[in-house]
Amino acid sequence: MLMLKGIAKGFPGVRALNDVDFEARSGEIHALVGENGAGKSTLTRVIAGVHQPDAGTITFDGQPTVWKGPGDAKRHGVHVIYQEFVLFPHLSVAENIFIGHERRNRLGLIDHRRTRADAKALLERFGIDIDPRSRVRDLSVADQQMVEIAKALIHDVKLLILDEPTAVISGREVDVLFERLRRLRDAGVAIVYISHRLEEIFALCDRVTVLKDGGFVASRPIGDVTRDQLIALMVGRNLAELFPTRRGPKTPGAVVVEARDIDVPGRVRGASIALRAGEITGLAGMVGAGRSELALALFGALKKTGGEVFVDGRPVDIGSPRRAIELGIGLVTEDRKGQGLAMLLDVAANVSASTLPEFTRSGLFDHRREATVADEAIASFRIACRGPGTPVAVMSGGNQQKVIVARWARTSTRLLILDEPTRGVDVGAKTEIYRIMQELADRGVAILMISSELPEIVGMSERVVVMREGVVTGELGPGEITEEAVVELATRRMAG
């Protein structure tokens, strides 16, 4: 159905794809795996006509093809469920499903009744109970994802690509999805399935292709690889290498920050967590479990409606990030570009952002001192850039992430929260970030690491707190931390 040969694609600062070969056949579910930033989504976008490849050829249905745009690919039966939502929040569910393929009557006008009815039928087939008339923005994230998936299935698809479709859904919804996909496969559709959840790959797919750092690694029938082999292909080295072992003091210090019974309406219910000096605590759970919200509430960036926070055992009122920073709390957010960085500014400005008064001498800003500090950060965190004056926009994701970490590492930070610190970061930078986290912990900083990657949680944490649907379902101490234990807690149904 689809054949890619020698595909290359670069972005400013990154070579996202390099000489990649890939093939998708009708009647086959083909898994595409690789670490964050391996280039899976980029490949998807090349296939869908969003990006023009810098080099290489696409053969579709036996024809050498150059897509004129996403619309062109769509017309030829290529459909993609993107990693980010492609939904129109203020249109109704039904309209979202049929946009681009509107149900029309004989006069060429939109047939609202049929649109609704067809949408309803479609949603029912998925067993989702959503009113097709409701606006998408009013749906839960999981329901939005189901709409995304449903949307792709109205078409006469030849090739269906799903980029981490299960990232925000779980349980029964996943089952429904898999069942659908299998039926489509049996009907002769070619399916490309991208996921970080290896168990899904083994449960669903017929074949797997591994990408690493933008390059093609291997392509095998699923029966020919074991889980461990697959990981080895993806990571390219032992996990032991990836997660540096702690050399510093292992004994946890005193509790620096403790949160008790935190409530965030609709997101977090009665969550408690205690963070100790010099200890790395992992916060695990499925996407949507409310981990980010708990972190944001701790940081004063989200209003909590219940609960208390103690710093050094004293109750404090953290009403704003400003206050949190005063109390020695730092936050590396999950959305680097959207929340973490002022992209147009340079490294120095982004590093100094949280401690501006420190750089003010008799009213004037001390640029020289800022540059010196930034130089030090660049050296000690090994940030690859042209110097303090490099605009962060031209830097790679991993280096951008290091800039943010450097920002917080500089302050009198006592607790540093990192939300998905390695998302979209390449392997090299990943190890660097792990190293930095450990160094900070060695200096006595309490670290809270939110991550959706189990190996990372298991490899880095000295203690793990697990959440599900806004509730803390358990805590694992040293010696108890295994992937199985975390998964068990992350999927455990709580009473009430």
């Binding site: 869908a48 745009g69 492609v86 939904l87």
Partner: protein, 319 residues
């Protein structure tokens, strides 16, 4: 008809309710203060007076729905009003060809706006500010004062009435609103205009013809500006170089008061129509209340703030 209304209502429910409430409130105040205010005669009068603003805001609504704005409308109205009376120059036989030409030219200028917006990637506010200046300059090159004239009967668009005193122009405008509303709600392109305004990036990924839609929307704005120009010539008997100037900003007020968000993707023309009626009724009422013109401005500004701050969405999440 009721189906259309109910569709329109789902688009911007709060918006319409707010304007409706304001309309009713104004009306009540007016009726309380003056016994001449709530007469059929005066209502027909307000209806008639709404025409020009209605026509120009109709086009503006479309650009705002896509998340853009057209700041060239004032200049386009001015230039085209001059061309209308200048080229007709009192000759009845020229009316039809000139009107056709002016409508075509308005559409073309609008399409050029849209073309520049998609080609340069510059924010529509800046692009149309620029083209607006260019068009205004051309209008002033064409003449510094009123030019030409139109046959007497030409005033039927602005002053003519159906039996019962219903203004012809205002009824044409009303009909156009209903048509455009129908178009927005019941055609593919109409719904896609909302989609493009809601999330341009998603529209691209969905393969929707975003660029074509933008060009079309600005062309429509140009078309309605041309219609406004023709209406003004009918009302004033001649075009003048600054005749449309006030419409540039004035055309935005009814749009936002009617619940269409400047960020795009939400709202609709029925809200704008009510916004237009609100503005017209407000002006009329202020005249009836003997409120000095100075305070009329103050009241208008406050109404904008009042209406607009109602729509402000509750902040979600961060920031």
């Amino acid at each position: 008809m009721s189906a259309i209304l109910s569709r329109a209502l789902t688009g911007s429910r709060t918006g319409l309710l707010v304007v409706l409430a304001l309309l009713v409130a104004l009306f009540a105040v007016g009726a309380f203060v003056s016994d001449r205010f709530a007469t059929t005669g005066n209502i027909l009068n307000v209806y008639e007076q709404s025409t020009g603003l209605a026509l120009v805001s109709l086009g503006q609504t479309l650009t705002v729905l896509t998340g853009g704005i057209d700041l060239s409308v004032g200049s386009v109205v001015s230039l085209l009003s001059m061309l209308t009376s200048g080229l007709i120059d009192g000759r009845a036989e020229m009316v039809v060809p000139v009107l056709a030409g002016v409508l075509a030219l308005g559409t073309l200028i609008g399409a050029l706006n849209g073309g520049l917006i998609v080609a340069t990637g510059v924010h529509p506010l800046i692009v149309t500010l620029g083209t607006g200046a260019i068009v205004q300059g051309i209008a002033l090159l064409y003449g510094l004062g009123p030019v030409g004239g139109v046959p007497l009967e030409f005033d039927v668009f602005a002053y003519g009435t159906f039996a019962g005193g219903l203004s012809i122009g205002a009824t044409i405008a009303l009909t156009l609103f209903l048509l455009v509303s129908f178009f927005l709600n019941n055609t593919r392109t109409g719904r896609r205009i909302y989609a493009v305004g809601d999330d341009a990036h998603a529209a691209d990924l969905m393969g929707l013809p975003r660029r074509r839609i933008l060009v079309g929307v600005y062309a429509a704005s140009g078309f309605f500006a041309a219609l406004t120009a023709i209406y003004l010539v009918s009302r004033f008997s001649a075009g003048q170089p600054y005749t449309g100037a006030n419409y540039t900003l004035a055309s935005i007020t009814p749009v936002v008061v009617g619940g269409t968000m400047l960020t795009g993707g939400r709202g609709g023309v029925i809200g704008t129509l009510l916004g237009v009626y609100l503005v017209s009724l407000l002006n009329n009422m202020l005249n009836f209340l003997d409120i000095s013109s100075h305070y009329q401005l103050v009241v208008q500004g406050l109404v904008i703030i009042l209406a607009v701050s109602v729509y402000v969405e509750k902040q979600r999440g961060l920031a």
